[in-house]
Subunit: 362 residues, 2 copies
């Protein structure tokens, strides 16, 4: 009997709604496996936690996460106006999400950009651009760079406000993520796109040096160097050329959201944030306060994050695949939640109905 | 009689070819205006300059630029392999382009993303996404941020290589570009999209503060705040929602190239780099070493940069419009250079034929 403790951090906005569907799916998976049991531990996180406890990542939540085998996170964040009511350093991103990433050193962020041909209608890209579908993996360094460098704001001698923040990397950090990327490339098409900006940034110069060194151990993997700006162009013009892409934190933030654009919605992009000891899983999108509480958000990326967790934290690859297929086939049968439908001719379903149908498909 | 001195920096790769077409067009414009004369001064710049003089931005070129009323720049840069033959600090970007931006303090970079409905076939986006065409302006801060912050590389006490680079802004720099953006928004649709990452970066917190302050003077302009990652998603999903966008240097580098992706090619994006005293104009794309010397590159963005120069440096707005229209109508008549044709059913023309046709249309 395998027992897994899972911390559930529903978060803000649509977080609780889509988390419900993840729980539904986890319970269904548990039922199908006599030898697996999930111990689900809900905990406060984000703005919800701040308003209740004064802390966006409260002690009690930290303890639950520390003791968990994996963490499943919903969404965090408030509208621009609501955010202003929370002191800058307790806002959910700075007060909860980044501290969690740092605490568990979840340096490797996997963001699959996957759209089978049958679902290409979701994409804003032309059919001939999508071709047989899009399937690539963005691997983003998640605990370094500008995100965690020292920040200084102040007023200079002339009364001028200024800000300085550091983009920092050392070779160990870079090597760790680059190795993950090479391994992933090796297990897929053996091509790695290295995204950088070495014509301007010295951090990219070091980054590329390490890519060259690590690459020595992977003679079977071809490395293609591409500037981050050019990558933005090509992701839009011809995403099919990519298979595995690796990049530093801020570039990964922007390009992975561009990946969501290619898919037609960030709602179609789950993600895994992997650390040496613990990993957490989360949708790549925000908390969509504008549609929260209406039971209309698509739980695809939340349930997809469950699939990633089953695969990467619990070694249940087959069941993860089943989950992906179940979700695809709900779409393929013409069902869709309103947030993704956008006036298309589909059979509209609610958030909880999507979850029910996925369970049925399983 | 108005006499304008123009420095011509053809640069590397396809630079000289497309610069020839710019010269052709400038001469045609001069002919049409009895009261205007252009004094064209060619000068070495980029890798071409480095190999000839040992400097990417040689003294002689600096002098010509200093004395010019405006600078027209082609493209710079070499292939990844060729670049390695030049010491890092003399590589064309670090040795020529960035020093030029700094010297003339060209802080305001205008990158029009413009695709009329008739040319929507160039775009990888679906017809319903392009709708009546795309027409927005990216305004990018060009002489601050990570590009010009202090950079430090070294080896720490444990023998680990590290790098630190500063993202720096002060309120004056931010105010200058934000004012330009508000003025531009005022002259267009009175909506300004402010692109930031204030949930992580303290530089964005200061940036947004200044946007709020400057905005007081522009009660007629509506400001919409959008995170840089979300902007990447929406540029792809629904670019029509944008009219004027303002952002810091690195974000602008990435998102403006995404703009090129939306257009179908960076070859369709000219740009203006405006300083308090002097401005320079350049295509947004690179030097395309793979197609250099073949007379097949499209000179659209180069000639478009001439149009921007006529408008913004010489006040010849009408003639600038004529130029835009001349180029659009070459395309509309079904002519296209091979680099943009991509297997479409068009009448193929060469780089110099495109220039000839533009002159004819004028
Ligand atoms: C919420 C925010 C801090 C976060 C980031 O910038 O990493 C998000 O955009 C993401 O991509 O996971
Ligand atoms: C060539 C490079 C230094 C430059 C930049 O990063 O600014 C280019 O990409 C651009 O956008 O003009």
């Amino acid at each position: 009997m395998k027992q897994y403790k899972i911390a559930l951090l529903a978060g803000d906005g649509i977080g609780p709604e889509i988390m419900n569907e993840a729980i539904k799916v986890l319970k269904a998976v548990e039922k199908r496996h006599a030898d697996v049991s999930f111990d689900l531990q809900e905990a406060l996180f984000g703005a919800a936690a701040y308003f209740e406890t004064g802390k966006a990542f409260p002690e009690k939540t930290i303890k639950i996460c520390d003791e968990a085998d994996a963490i499943l996170k919903g969404t965090i964040g408030l509208s621009h106006e609501q955010s202003q009511k929370i002191p800058v350093d307790e806002q959910p991103e700075r007060g909860a999400l980044l501290p969690m990433r740092r605490r568990y050193n979840t340096f490797a962020n996997f963001r699959p950009v996957y759209l089978p041909k049958e679902l290409s209608f979701f994409s804003p890209l032309k059919e001939e651009v999508i071709g047989d579908g899009v399937d690539f993996m963005i691997i983003r360094e998640l605990v370094g760079g500008l995100y965690f460098g020292e920040k200084k704001t102040g007023v200079d001698a002339n009364g001028k406000r200024y800000v300085k923040e550091l983009l920092e990397y050392d070779e160990e950090q870079i090597r760790a993520i680059v190795q993950v990327a090479f391994n992933t490339a090796r297990s897929r098409k053996k091509v790695l796109h290295n995204i950088h900006k070495s014509n301007v940034l010295k951090s990219s110069v070091l980054w590329n040096e390490i890519v060259g060194e690590v690459g020595q151990d992977y003679p079977d993997v071809e490395v293609k160097h591409i500037l981050v700006d050019a990558a933005a162009t090509y992701l839009c013009l011809d995403p099919k050329q990519f298979d595995v892409m690796v990049m530093e934190n801020m570039f990964g933030d922007i390009l992975s959201d561009l990946g969501g654009g290619i898919l037609g919605s960030l709602g179609l992009m789950p993600s895994a944030c992997v650390g040496p000891e613990k990993s957490y899983y989360e949708p790549s999108h925000g908390s969509a306060p504008d549609i929260a509480g209406q039971n209309i958000a698509n739980p695809y990326s939340m349930i997809g994050s469950v699939a990633l967790m089953l695969d990467m934290s619990f070694g249940m690859k087959q069941e993860a695949n089943n989950l992906w297929q179940a979700m695809q086939s709900v779409f393929a049968k013409g069902y869709c939640t309103p947030d993704l439908a956008k006036g298309r001719d589909v059979k509209l379903i609610k958030t909880d109905e999507f979850g029910d149908m996925v369970v049925l498909e399983l």
